[in-house]
């Protein structure tokens, strides 16, 4: 396999595999879940670092977790993600674009999100199978749970994204996969995430339940941010995309037989997050 270093966005062909921190793309390549002949190192062309309300897509999670300008919800989401080693390498954009942790997908089972030469599969193995870590919302087509703590934090902050082609709200980055279109993001082929733009928040908080104390994806992550009279709450680990919660949102959950406990956890953490914002 070839490793190339891009010197401008024009160097990035639309079907390129991109390398920034490498903590996601390298394991996926090694597991055979994605394929390609060349890997393009984009660290030279993607903005790094933090400047006011703008964060470079190449900033590492480790930078964000220790910068006092960053809102609490995002700092805490970074701090509770992965391990220190992974946070030192993993980039912000890479975290937002990571693939599901659904074990069926990660094992290469021919599921609705898994594409082979014959096209996509037509079954969600988790729905009838082992789904304790899976989605409790929007799980009728694909029960995968979105693993990004950071995405939930940015969704609660109503962050905006700048790509090499357009500007969009973070919520618009994600889409629920469907029979006709299996993609889970709206990025076009070759489109590069360049910057994240934060809106100010008066107060914010991130609470995370995981099955050990560190280095685990969220069973439930609750991100909450208050700006003036507006409170936004977003959840990680509960739906195939980061999940923005409506006022009565938890009542509309559709847990599977083996993951109703996640709803209980979500109820408790949402209650605590609201209390923390009011305190």
């Amino acid at each position: 396999m070839e490793l190339r270093r891009a010197s401008s966005t024009a160097d990035v062909a639309s079907n390129s595999l991109l390398l920034a921190g490498g903590t996601e793309v390298v394991p996926l390549l090694r597991a055979g879940l994605i394929e390609g002949d060349s890997l393009v190192d984009i660290r030279g062309i993607v903005p790094q670092g933090i400047a006011g309300d703008r964060i470079g897509a190449g900033a590492t999670l480790a930078e964000l977790e220790c910068d006092p300008q960053i809102p609490d919800v995002l700092r805490e989401a970074c701090r509770l993600a992965a391990s220190p080693q992974l946070r030192n390498m993993g980039s912000l954009a890479g975290n937002l674009l990571q693939s599901t942790r659904c074990w069926y997908w990660r094992l290469g089972k021919n599921c609705r999100l898994h594409r082979t030469s014959d096209g996509y599969g037509d079954e969600c193995f988790a729905q009838e199978g082992e789904h304790r870590e899976h989605a409790i919302f929007a799980n009728d087509f694909c029960a995968s749970a979105h693993p990004s703590d950071v995405a939930a934090a940015l969704l609660a902050l109503d962050a905006r994204l700048h790509t090499d082609r357009r500007e969009l709200a973070l919520a618009e980055l994600y889409r629920l996969p469907s029979e006709d279109d299996r993609r889970t993001t709206t990025l076009e082929p070759g489109e590069l995430l360049l910057e994240v733009e934060l809106a100010p928040a008066d107060r914010s908080v991130y609470l995370k339940a995981m099955d050990r104390k560190r280095w685990a994806f969220p069973l439930v992550g609750v991100a909450a941010a208050r700006t003036g009279a507006t409170t936004r709450i977003a959840l990680a680990g509960v739906a195939p995309t980061p999940w923005l919660l409506a006022e009565d949102g938890l009542d509309r959950a559709t847990p599977l037989p083996g993951n109703a406990y996640k709803l209980e956890i979500a109820q408790a953490l949402v209650r605590r997050a609201r209390r923390a914002l009011d305190a």
Partner: protein, 738 residues
């Protein structure tokens, strides 16, 4: 003098009667207490070479011309290979040889578990070998797997006849009881996940074979490889200088050693066959799941009148039915006990011994049930255990060679007393509590085992024995014993081990037996050398001269001492004991459990190296916390396919999950056991951890967790059940007519 005896040999709780030639153990034990070197904390004598990366593990070996093997393993829980064609693999660059089903015994076409080896390839690089395995043209007929252990029992799909053990009159015991409690407890499949995966490098040297392997039992590998290859045992040399963990899973040669041997024979080159981390999570063994349906009957003061259990071990396709009933049979002085243990034969990867197999699972069930009993009766759990203390072996009334469990209980008191203060720190949402559990296990070791000690004119000594250090630091303990006996500094002793061609037979490092088996042989060898040096000093007319002065006369002469492990005490039961006290906090809204502190008090006779001993206790408890809270091998309920084959899906504890660990050892020599009075400590510390945590959760919340691991789902379920019970009680307790 050597003598022939008929004796019971115990490994991992399994007994067999064997004839043994043993040598008398004539040495007196040292008096109790720490000595100049033995009983003093010693850092590992090979610590620096390990830390610097200089220690060469099997995984580090790169022999000249070495080829790498990769194995095609069944992706299905049950399937038949209907067609296999190795030609596409053999056509790829770098590929030297390939073998398919039936070409050696370990490669099969009928696959009865995921991970069964079907074909193997060797190539110049590991990547080439893996590509070649992927290129093998294979067709499977997928068959319906049997996955449910209860269903296997119903269908009599069992590994062996159900094991029934009974004493007294169980029904009568239940009739005499004031209270009878039952409970169903479940434990999950957990994985060893040793840092160094299972692997071997095999090369043929003429008609002899050299096996470098990460193993717990050099001599067992020698015998099994010799039998498998139909060679005289002396044509097999086994080498393991350093190993990265085993926990019971590396006692035998498995498929990979024979695959490497066959491919090495075909190519005339050394071949390495190393399991990947994913293969390690499939085909390297596991602690089997259990279902335990338990009953206890007791008088209202807590005196046990009956204990009964049906134990279903979900063994997998092969292995053995470990002693899940052992703690119920052995721990307490209950007169009426009946147990039945089933080994369910399933289309799942075979179990292997895993750090106190059976007893970890069985102690969780029994000690949880006893705690539920104490709670029901309003009896202090520590008092309940004292009340039912077994003076002699409960099954055949044999005396224990030594038993300091009451002293363990006494030393547990200050930790147990903390429960009032711990509970008082509870809040509305975070409840705190303290729980305890007892430990019983083997760990006496046994003969045969041999060691030599060589002393040169420089006054330095080398201990020579073909044992292995599984990673517990027994190499350091052996050096301490030799230095103590010879009266020379620890730095003047080196230990040569890990090579069947360079030393005498040594015991398996399993069943907490390395130190109690090897230590007495090393001491006997050092004493033999010392005696010879004393005789020289007497001939010289300076019987009190220091060792260094006497041996300085030797020039190229050397003193060669030899020693053997003597017999275990006849008619006695040699066991280890202990107790652990856990402090936990439970978030009753989210089901999160924190283990804050575990105090571990164990009785393993004389302690050789207190630093190594506390490391063993810490390691056992950390592994136990993992089994209790987060580790679980998951499979798809329909196909049996294993879902947790990587370390992000299989959740080992991180350092953030580790509680404060307070370790104490009673450190009283077992007066009946060998010239050392030492027992093993590898396994005891993991045994009571799960039950102590579960009992602390009960103390904190009133909830009975009955399934390991205690996931959020299980914790929340138990809390809901406890809440329903509380409401029921309130309803029943309400005044009539209201």
């Amino acid at each position: 003098m050597a003598r022939l005896i008929r004796t019971e040999k115990e490994v991992e709780g399994r007994y067999e009667e064997v004839w043994l030639v043993v040598e008398e153990d004539a040495l007196q034990q040292w008096p109790a207490g720490a000595r100049a070197i033995v009983g003093q904390p010693a850092t590992r004598i090979d610590g620096l070479e390990r830390a610097r990366g200089e220690a060469v593990f099997t995984a580090d070996l790169r022999l000249n011309g070495m080829l790498h093997a990769a194995v095609l393993r069944s992706p299905h829980a049950r399937a038949r290979v209907t067609r296999v064609d190795l030609t596409p693999a053999l056509a790829l660059p770098g590929v030297h040889a390939a073998a398919g089903p039936g070409e050696l015994e370990q490669l099969v076409a009928d696959c009865n578990y995921q991970g069964a080896a079907v074909a193997a390839v060797c190539a110049g690089t590991l990547a080439q070998a893996r590509d070649a395995v992927a290129a093998i043209d294979v067709e499977w007929e997928v068959l319906e797997p049997l996955l449910d252990p209860d269903e296997a029992v119903r269908r009599r799909e069992l590994l062996d006849e159900p094991r029934v053990r009974a004493r007294g009159d169980y029904e009568q015991g239940l009739a005499e009881a004031d209270v009878v409690l039952t409970g169903e407890y479940r434990t999950a499949v957990v994985m060893h996940n040793s840092m160094e995966t299972h692997q071997a490098v095999v090369q043929w040297l003429g008609d002899a074979v050299e096996v470098h392997i990460s193993t717990q039992y050099i001599w067992g590998i020698r015998d099994e490889v010799a039998a498998g290859l139909r060679l005289p045992p002396d044509k097999v040399r086994v080498i393991c200088n350093y190993m990265g963990g085993g926990f019971g899973s590396k006692n035998g040669p498995d498929d990979y050693t024979f695959i490497a041997a066959e491919l090495a024979k075909r190519t005339g080159r050394p071949v390495k066959c190393a399991l990947t981390r994913r293969e390690e999570n499939l085909a390297a063994g596991n602690r089997n799941a259990t279902i335990q349906r338990l009953t206890v009957g007791a008088k209202s003061d807590g005196t046990l009148t009956a204990l009964g259990g049906d134990f279903v071990n979900a063994v997998g396709w092969s292995g053995w039915t470990s002693s899940t009933e052992g703690p119920m049979q052995m721990l307490y002085a209950c007169p009426n006990v009946t147990t039945t243990t089933y080994g369910a034969k399933l289309n799942q990867p075979p179990m292997k011994a895993f750090r106190a197999p059976g007893f970890v699972e069985g102690t969780f069930g029994l000690e949880s049930l006893l705690d539920e009993l104490a709670s029901k009766l309003g009896v202090d759990p520590l008092e309940l255990r004292r009340l039912n203390y077994a003076q002699n072996d409960a099954n055949d009334d044999r005396p224990f060679s030594s038993k300091q469990l009451l002293e363990c209980y006494r030393r547990a008191e200050p930790h147990w007393e903390r429960r009032h203060e711990v509970r008082a720190r509870s809040t509305d949402t975070v409840k705190r509590g303290v729980g305890m559990a007892s430990q019983i296990w083997y760990g006496g070791g046994g003969p045969p085992s041999y060691a030599w000690v060589r002393v040169g004119s420089d006054g330095r000594a080398t201990v020579i024995t073909a044992m292995q250090d599984i990673g517990t630091g027994t190499k350091t303990a052996m050096a301490q014993i030799a230095a103590e006996e010879l009266g020379i500094p620890l730095e003047h002793v080196t230990v040569s081990l890990g090579d069947s061609a360079r030393g005498p037979y040594a015991a398996i490092s399993a069943g907490s037996s390395t130190t109690p088996s090897m230590g007495p042989a090393v001491r006997a060898a050092a004493a033999d050398a010392k005696q010879q040096i004393l005789e020289i000093a007497e001939q010289r007319g300076t019987p009190d001269a220091p060792l260094a002065e006497v041996v300085a006369l030797l020039q190229d002469g050397q003193i060669l001492g030899k020693g053997a492990r003597g017999p275990n005490p006849a008619g006695m039961q040699v066991l280890t004991f202990g107790v652990q006290v856990a402090e936990v906090a439970v978030d009753v809204e989210t089901g999160e459990v924190w283990v804050d502190r575990i105090a571990a008090i164990h009785d393993v006779g004389r302690v050789i190296n207190p630093l190594g001993a506390s490391s063993q206790i810490e390691g056992g408890i950390i592994q136990g916390v993992g089994h209790t809270l987060s580790e679980e091998r998951l499979h798809d309920p329909r196909t049996g396919e294993i879902l947790t084959t990587s370390l992000d899906a299989y959740r080992l504890p991180t350092i953030a999950d580790v509680p404060e660990i307070v370790s104490e050892l009673i450190d009283r020599p077992d007066a009946h056991l060998t010239n050392l009075g030492s027992k093993g400590l590898g396994e005891p510390p993991i045994i009571p951890t799960a039950a102590a945590i579960a009992n602390a959760i009960r103390d904190a919340t009133g909830a009975d967790v009955r399934r390991l691991p205690i996931t959020r789902a299980e914790m929340l379920r138990a809390l809901r059940e406890a809440e329903l019970r509380r409401r029921e009680r309130e309803k029943v307790g309400a005044p009539a007519g209201v």
